[in-house]
């Protein structure tokens, strides 16, 4: 009963268009005030202690690191390197876009930023080279989604925080699926290019490749700092995030010189703005999951599901459908913070690996980014290509299809996700 009240209340408040964080908080206040005896003072304390965890602080640091490096210059160097490696294949510029997105994803934890950074350079180039616009838009919008699967990933930190999973293991688990998805998208691109007989670039010599690699390597080393630092035990994930932020600052200001010292405060302010928004959702989501636990709702739903005889296979289908539907209306962080406290205990009871579950959820979020009406990547791609939203949506379908196939693969073959972290002894 209380579960119904809470969720109906939350849905109603959210649909009025108020910020997600406020609807979560108000739901808690109304419920506590109207239906329970829990003292309201405990809410105020929770508001502070909710984010009093060192792991959560990885989020602002990763955002800061990403913002230092998501500058035009870094993207251009990565595109040059990508083109020198895969540009000679059929549909060369499309293939390069996918590869460049994968590289850029390794410095940025955000999908829309990846789409803008790669897309605003690659789209005009593709149109000039005679590719249909829809092809370019489809490639960039879908490959931009790699941003949240390839570490560092804000979405994964959110999942780790709300389920007490290991950030390091999750990041490591994202590596193989990320590369695999890049292959999937690359194959789709190649296939479409072959069908349409799109042009290719001239083959580059190994010297040129090496030169392009040298130029882009400083940005790519960020991921080495993060993953190497966490894996070797030099840093905790949060420390690794802070180190990567300092590294990114150093590279942007002193090595690439894309950023003037005078711009640094602006980058700090923008990062603080974005982080504060996410931390504020987390704060209120902690409150929300506090009343859920207080009312024993996750346990109730888990019991009900187990009694109904739903197996692991059925449960995973249900989760995928639920997340894909929610992905049409909300952005990834909010979805994870709201659903993880409910879905996670059930998944554990069914014997699903927490890391595998996290990767699966992340892939779902990625698909949500390219499906309307709330696909951030679609809006951004439509913005930079001046193509209508409906046409953009149609343009991504071949890649959307291959992502759905990929999702099924990730869902039912947990080894893809957990092999690497397990082999490295991280879980």
């Amino acid at each position: 009963m209380s579960a119904a009240i809470i969720f109906v209340l939350l849905a109603c408040l959210m649909l009025t268009g108020m910020p997600v964080s406020i609807s979560l908080g108000l739901t808690v206040l109304i419920f506590l005030f109207g239906f329970t005896e829990v003292p309201l003072e405990s809410v105020a304390l929770k508001l502070f202690t909710g984010i009093e965890k060192f792991e959560i602080m990885a989020i602002p640091f990763f955002i800061l690191a990403g913002n230092f490096l998501t500058h035009g210059g870094v993207a251009r160097r990565m595109i040059e390197f990508a083109t020198s490696v895969v540009g000679h294949l059929r549909g060369g510029l499309g293939m390069s876009s996918v590869f460049a997105c994968a590289l850029f994803a390794a410095v940025s934890g955000s999908s829309p930023a990846t789409v803008v950074a790669i897309g605003s350079i690659m789209l005009p180039a593709m149109v000039r080279a005679g590719y249909p616009k829809a092809f370019g838009v489809g490639v960039v919008a879908s490959a931009g989604g790699l941003g949240i699967l390839i570490p560092p990933s804000i979405v994964m930190v959110m999942y780790a925080v709300s389920t007490n999973s290991s950030i390091g293991a999750l990041f490591m688990a994202g590596v193989i699926p990320g590369l695999l998805l890049a292959l999937f998208l690359g194959f789709t691109t190649w296939f479409r290019a072959k069908q349409g007989d799109y042009p290719r670039e001239r083959r580059r010599s190994w010297t040129e490749r090496l030169g392009a690699f040298r130029k882009s390597v400083w940005g790519l080393l960020l991921i080495v700092v993060v993953m190497g630092g966490i894996y070797s035990g030099l840093f905790t994930p949060t420390e690794a995030a802070a180190m990567s932020a300092v590294y990114a600052f150093f590279i942007a200001v002193f090595v690439y010189k894309d950023l003037r010292m005078a711009d640094v405060p602006k980058v700090l302010l923008n990062s603080a703005n974005m982080s504060a928004m996410l931390l504020y959702i987390i704060t209120n989501a902690v409150l929300f999951s506090f009343i859920l636990t207080n009312e024993q709702i996750p346990q109730g739903i888990a019991q009900w599901l187990l009694d109904s005889g739903i197996g692991m296979v059925g449960f995973l289908i249900a989760v995928n459908v639920l997340l894909l539907v929610m992905g049409n209306f909300m952005e990834p962080s909010s979805i994870i913070l709201i659903t993880a406290p409910i879905l996670f205990p059930i998944a554990m009871k069914l014997g699903i690996d927490p890391i595998h579950f996290g990767v699966m959820i992340t892939v779902n979020m990625e698909i949500g980014m390219i499906t309307p009406p709330v696909g951030l990547n679609l809006y951004v791609a439509s913005g930079i290509s001046k193509m209508g939203l409906t046409d953009t949506t149609k343009a991504v379908w071949p890649w959307l299809l291959s992502m759905l196939v990929f999702l099924v693969l990730i869902t039912y073959v947990p080894q893809i996700s957990i092999w690497l972290p397990r082999t490295l002894g991280m879980m």
């Binding site: 009025t16 268009g17 108020m18 910020p19 997600v20 964080s21 406020i22 908080g25 206040l29 809410v43 105020a44 508001l47 502070f48 984010i51 060192f54 602080m57 602002p60 640091f61 800061l64 998501t70 500058h71 035009g72 210059g73 993207a75 803008v116 950074a117 605003s120 005009p124 030099l234 840093f235 420390e239 802070a242 180190m243 300092v246 894309d258 950023l259 640094v264 700090l268 302010l269 990062s271 603080a272 703005n273 974005m274 982080s275 504060a276 928004m277 931390l279 209306f329 909300m330 952005e331 009406p373 709330v374 951030l376 809006y379 913005g383 930079i384 290509s385 001046k386 209508g388 939203l389």
Partner: protein, 228 residues
């Protein structure tokens, strides 16, 4: 008002930068003090940075509270606006005002609760003590584990930040009622792209109809006839 705006921006910028530096220095310190350089090592070991983690958390919590208030002003908070964006301007306006009022109400209540909590957990004691008033059996309040600061000072981020946020919601609402425009945030913004390239970037940072933010009345959107 301008003064408050600048102070707010300056404050969260400072917190962001300082927290990063603190963690960076504490990690460096941890490894540097491992090297056996005569003199330097002893000196490094004597400097205690065990409080770095706690200070970082406190700084980020303050940043989160004040940044959330700043975020209201920049329109960064995301919501589910699919439904109301399909309504007529008039009706959408009502929902927007309702949403902003709800935000103000929530942050107002939290601010009040937080103030009460802080007052009961040490502020009352400290202020009376400072003023030399009769303290009776007032509660002194707990202190933080590493820095040993009174928690009430740390926790006052809630009432202060929340009240500021409440004020910002009301400010945005007043502005919306007057001009029909809302602050907008562009989630796909990448520095250095729009300026240098100047190519196909028509992604007007203030015109992202992404259904995560309410569309306001003053702007026109793609699909509403001709985009500018």
């Amino acid at each position: 008002m301008k003064y408050l705006d600048h102070l707010e921006e300056w404050f969260i910028t400072f917190l962001m930068g300082a927290a990063t530096l603190i963690i960076f220095v504490s990690v460096l310190h941890r490894y540097a003090s491992g090297f056996a350089i005569p003199g330097v090592q002893d000196w490094l070991i004597r400097i205690d940075v065990s409080w770095a983690q706690e200070l970082c958390i406190i700084m980020f919590v303050w940043m989160a509270k004040f940044g959330a208030a700043y975020g209201v002003r920049t329109g960064i908070h995301v919501g589910v606006d699919v439904l109301i964006n399909h309504l007529s301007d008039r009706n959408r306006g009502k929902f927007i005002v309702f949403g902003l009022l709800a935000g103000a109400t929530f942050t107002g209540i939290v601010g009040a609760l937080g103030a009460h909590f802080v007052w009961e957990n040490g502020a009352h004691y400290s202020i009376y003590k400072f003023l030399g008033l009769e303290m009776g059996d007032l509660y002194e309040g707990p202190i933080t584990p590493d820095l040993e600061w009174p928690t009430w000072i740390v926790y006052s981020a809630i009432p202060l930040g929340s009240s500021l946020m409440c004020f910002r919601f009301l400010q945005v609402m007043a502005n919306f009622l007057r001009t029909g425009s809302l602050p907008h945030h562009d989630h796909g913004h990448v520095d250095g792209i729009d300026e240098d390239e100047g190519l196909a970037v028509d992604a007007n940072p203030y015109n992202m109809d992404d259904n995560l933010h309410p569309q306001d009345i003053a702007h026109h959107h793609r699909g509403d006839g001709e985009s500018k």
